[in-house]
């Protein structure tokens, strides 16, 4: 009986949490669509979520591309398919690794930073102060962060695609003995617009998820440093889970049939 009660209580609490997230998302979306838009805040957030994420995303992408090239070569050599390395690298990077790696890296960096910043603002009553000054906290804090992540993640993904393919090219030509011109020709021949578009759609969804969970857990942080830490952890975990789930859903939408 206790077990059943526990399961019931957990289910109810999960549903309550899901309801809170849904309400928060609707308020956030409404804030993105309504006036005023705080341009200064938006640029600041774009700098934080986009520009300052370039090194980490670039580094992840280049090594992912290098590993994919190496693993493909070793694996495909078993049935004399080594020549497919360039094809596998471009498809894997544009469809999956580019958007997912960029998403996970930005989730770890930006979602945590959003949750910690807003959590600290919440416990030091800065969010209440905004409201009393007549500033809608959703428009000033949430909307710029959502828009910044929505804009920056696809751009970061494009960058990750280019750097990832370059990583594969580097390993292919310097370590695996491919000639650079045929490698590039094969890469460009297998570059499909659908793959890139799918990656960009995914990354836009990931950007939204990252910002929403960061803001949600920051806004709902309780008092105390421990709560801010918990909010940060929850934001990263939820954003990463959201990214992996959305990755499957968008992939199924594009390639499921």
């Amino acid at each position: 009986m206790n077990l059943l009660a526990n399961i019931g209580a957990r289910t109810i609490s999960m549903l309550v949490e899901a309801g809170k997230v849904a309400i928060f998302v609707s308020k956030g979306v409404w804030a993105c669509c309504s006036w005023p838009l705080y341009m200064g805040e938006l640029l600041k957030q774009m700098l934080n979520a986009g520009f300052f994420s370039i090194p980490i995303v670039g580094l992840t992408a280049v090594f992912s591309g290098m590993v994919i090239a190496l693993q493909t070569y070793v694996g495909f050599a078993k049935f004399s398919g080594e020549s497919a390395v360039a094809t596998v690298v471009i498809v894997a990077i544009t469809r999956e690794l580019g958007p997912v790696m960029a998403g996970l890296m930005v989730a770890g960096r930006t979602s945590a930073s959003i949750a910690a910043e807003l959590g600290s603002m919440k416990i030091s009553e800065q969010i209440d102060a905004l409201e009393i000054l007549g500033v809608n906290p959703f428009r000033f804090l949430v909307a710029p962060r959502i828009l910044a992540c929505l804009i920056c993640l696809p751009l970061l993904t494009l960058l990750a695609d280019v750097i990832g393919v370059f990583g594969g090219f580097l390993v292919g030509t310097t370590k695996l003995g491919f000639a650079s011109r045929p490698y590039m020709t094969q890469t460009l021949a297998n570059l499909a617009a659908d793959d890139v578009i799918c990656g960009l759609v995914k990354s836009a969804c990931f950007g939204f998820t990252i910002a929403v969970f960061g803001c949600f857990y920051g806004f709902n942080s309780a008092r105390g440093a421990k709560s801010v830490g918990e909010a940060t952890t929850m934001a990263v975990v939820a954003a990463c889970m959201g990214i992996l789930i959305l990755n499957y859903i968008v992939t199924a939408m594009f390639f499921g049939a």
């Binding site: 600290s120 030091s124 009553e125 102060a129 409201e131 000054l133 007549g134």
Partner: protein
């Protein structure tokens, strides 16, 4: 003829989800141009009362009316809030903005064109040194942060000012300076003002009227002169808690 009532709590009740009752049938009236100080021990719900007044925390029952507008009137929420300014216990200054931007932000948001000029004027009015205008809040001392918070609060020309523990975390000398500054501001702007504190010195300087909050209700209220002459046991205990402890020790 008495001045009209500016703020009225009508049987406000607030119980948190963990069962803690902070406001229990709470009733209070504050008149225009009156400075009311609410005393109370830590944790009796003084800050929650402010949040209920501002609509930042929902009541379970009852109503609050300020300037003829109910806190529940969501259509007139902006108009309702525009009557208020608040000086928070922690200062609640925006970390990402300079001192000057902290004060001008609310003005800019209301479309006032010379916001920076007004902000500088208010910062000078609270006797903040000009060299601090471009600093970030983290670089300021506690007393300076309180001054900036006061400047931000008065910059919006509110009808109602709320002060939440204005001297908490300050040394006695700085605390006394801030208290005098608040009194000066109240006199100059002729505001309706509520201060919550557990510091009797603050009450003596700022208050026209004093009330004691306990168990979610106002259990005593009178003119500030009556503070030291009242026979109310709860007030006596609040004013001089050691007296009672000593007496019980002697027994």
């Amino acid at each position: 003829m008495p001045t009209p009532i500016k703020i009225e709590f009508k049987n406000a009740c607030k119980t948190f989800s963990n069962g803690t009752m902070v406001l229990n049938d709470f009733c209070l009236k504050v008149r225009q141009n009156e400075s009311l100080v609410i005393l109370g021990r830590s944790g009796v719900g003084k800050s929650v009362m402010f949040k209920v007044l501002l609509g930042l925390v929902y009541m379970n029952s009852g109503n609050v009316v300020a300037g003829g507008i109910s806190v529940d009137d969501r259509k007139r929420r902006r108009q309702y809030l525009s009557q208020f300014s608040m000086m928070f216990q922690s200062g609640a200054l925006f970390d990402s903005m300079t001192v000057e931007q902290n004060v001008s932000f609310g003005l800019t948001n209301r479309g006032i064109s010379n916001a920076t000029e007004i902000a500088r004027e208010k910062l000078l009015a609270v006797e903040l040194d000009q060299s601090a205008f471009k600093l970030y809040p983290s670089a300021l001392s506690g007393g300076m942060q309180k001054r900036v918070a006061l400047a931000r609060a008065i910059a919006l020309k509110p009808d109602i000012m709320l002060f939440d523990e204005p001297t908490s975390g300050l040394d006695p000398v700085t605390g006394s300076t801030i208290t005098k500054l608040i009194r000066k501001t109240i006199d100059k702007l002729d505001l309706c003002c509520i201060t919550i504190t557990h510091d009797l010195n603050v009450a003596n300087v700022i208050a026209d009227r004093v009330a004691l909050l306990d168990n979610g209700q106002i259990i005593w209220e009178d003119k500030v002169d009556a503070l030291n002459n009242s026979n109310n046991p709860a007030l006596q205990h609040f004013i001089n808690p050691t007296q009672r402890t000593n007496a019980s020790h002697k027994k």
